[in-house]
Symmetry: none
Subunit: 210 residues, 4 copies
DNA sequence: GATGAATGAGAATTCATTCAT
DNA sequence: TATGAATGAATTCTCATTCAT
């Protein structure tokens, strides 16, 4: 008797979770298609096949919805990057792994990446300082790897670590942006392997001590 | 008699031009301060000390206003970049000059750069495909320099020119973004000379044939 | 066998009654704290520790809930006032007793009185004509006492009984309102005895035949 | 030439003022008919024959609109009451004049009085403490007159001035409420003269020193 | 009976844009 | 040309009420 009750409860929980996920998925589709500003909650509700009051039960506002979508992906990425930074590889390989992780993140879910690139970024000011720090997290980690590489004698100490960090991150970000916006000159080609190789060839190698 | 008329006409023209300029300047200040979405035409009109109906006489819409602001700066930059590409330097020096031009462009007018970085860039979907091509112009030119360098035997032909272009452009763009948004790890420091040097050290050198 | 069944049934009834009472009590607290308009059913359900669907099982709507709360107290008061009017005292003492009953009603349950004063009273239009008549009941009774006093030669027949009724009722009501809203000049002091005395001194005495 | 310009400007000013007034009048009608809560800005705009954005140009919100309507009337009343209190009559005549002013205020504009009675009062909590003080202003003034009467030896010093104030004010307010809501036992009859006389007979006389 | 997820009508408010003067 | 009053479409969010479990 007890067991059955628990089962029923659990199943209900699951169904709710599914519904939340359905809204999340629908939002992603809608945001990705029309952009944050042009998306209406009504569109999302329709896409998810729920009443739009329900969107507000799960997410308190349109902003929160965007942030939640973003956090899910971003936290995963940051965690991954952090794990790489905390790993046993040398600084050089860490950077390569970070690049790989970021590229794969896009390959895995291009719509999400698109959304992050286009909307979260642009709306930084709406979300306030707190959010910016979240977005800067990968930069912090990369900077730390850069300095580690210099300390260990692997990277050239004459290189400005801050700028190198920004260059590295910007290069990767732009590649992803190019993919996301289908920009010249990357139009059409999402080749993670090549991107990794080129980052290595053009960027990472040159960090080494001459 | 004729001459006087012409003079009067000319002076009037000038006064109008001045007013248009005033609106343009005001828009830049307002957009830069609050971002495009949060800026109201009323704010701009107030800042420019004109009635807001007047904004519509000179610019057809808020979008046009942003685009026009953007075009002014962007066209200047594109022209400069194009001039560099068409010049007599070798490909390597051309890239360095392009980086320098872009950095200086920011140093000259940080607000404008901010605006471009934050708003134009991220509003691409609103402005439509046509705008994207304008924004890609520098990429086209840089790509062309890359290929020229490879053809001339200066750059390594094994490097993927498209990706190298994106990496180069992304790195510069991210540095400017970092300055504009006062982002970690560049917060506070706008050092054009150092940025140029690091781009050379980390990026451009590695393009050369080994 | 029969008896046990009845007992079980009775106990269940009681439990239900208790739950209804809990909702009623909670509503009172919530309405009193935030006012009718700003109170949400969810607040009440939370305060009562029940699901909010349950509120609808016992009360058909938010309006009904307010009315039911109100009726409980109001009916008690009206009954009391009616009993006084039907009693053996002379008209003069009846009025004093009515004033006392009203003041005590507030002293006994200030929150309820507050609610009546602030919300029921001012929501009359929402509740419709039927409700107004309920609210006018005490006025009817007081008017009747007034006329009785005049007929018996105790009160001055030149006084307009209607106006005197309204004056008497309004005075008492305002005193209670002052207490309920903590209004100047009664702020802080709830002195039923003094209020009774002053009503006698200022109002009731002057009704007598000169 | 100058003069004509000024004239044009002035006429425009007048037309604007008229429009604001038209909105104010329409609001009063709508609020009075349906009550504040049930009135929609759209109703008011329609009644005033303007677009509803315009309502927001003149009044920043629905609340402000109600408050502005209220203030216009209330300030007039308070000023009148204050003038009476500051006048040369003795305290007794001052009270009578205050009662008269309040009654006339209703007779002059019953809809307004209705609105004040039903909505401003009820929404006191929405408008916050500051508003309450405005509403208490007449009470302050009356209390002052009461005390003046006692000091001058005209009124019985054994009477509690605070309570007497509340009784006096409550009586008048209830009479007006009765008229406004067409309540028993005053239904139908708005007789300012009789009301004045009765307040004198039943209330004011009894304040005097025995 | 009890729960709380789901529904969706409803209203306030904003602001780009138009237009009469 | 210049003004700023006027317009009203568009959209978010709330919350009483219903209903499946």
């Amino acid at each position: 008797m007890e067991r059955r009750k628990r089962l029923v409860k659990q199943r209900r929980q699951e169904r709710l979770q599914q519904k939340k996920q359905r809204i999340l998925d629908a939002s992603l589709r809608v945001f990705a298609a029309k952009g944050y500003q042009l998306s209406r909650i009504a569109d999302i509700a329709k896409e998810a096949n729920v009443a739009y009051g329900l969107v507000y039960r799960y997410f308190n506002s349109k902003d929160r919805l965007l942030m939640e979508i973003f956090r899910l992906e971003w936290d995963r990425l940051v965690k991954e990057v952090k794990a790489i930074a905390d790993g046993n590889q040398n600084a050089r390989d860490k950077l390569l792994s970070v690049a790989g992780a970021m590229f794969n993140s896009f390959a895995r879910d291009p719509k999400m990446a698109s959304l992050v690139v286009r909307d979260v970024y642009r709306n930084i000011q709406i979300f306030g300082r707190e959010r910016i720090e979240i977005m800067e997290e990968p930069l912090r980690i990369i900077a730390q790897v850069m300095r580690e590489g210099q300390k260990k004698g692997l990277f050239d100490p004459d290189i400005d670590a801050s700028l190198a960090t920004v260059i590295f991150y910007g290069a990767i970000d732009q590649i992803i942006t190019g993919w996301a916006l289908n920009m010249f000159p990357l139009a059409g080609a999402v080749n993670v392997e090549l991107a990794r190789k080129m980052v290595e060839r053009v960027l990472v190698n040159s960090l080494e001590k001459p």
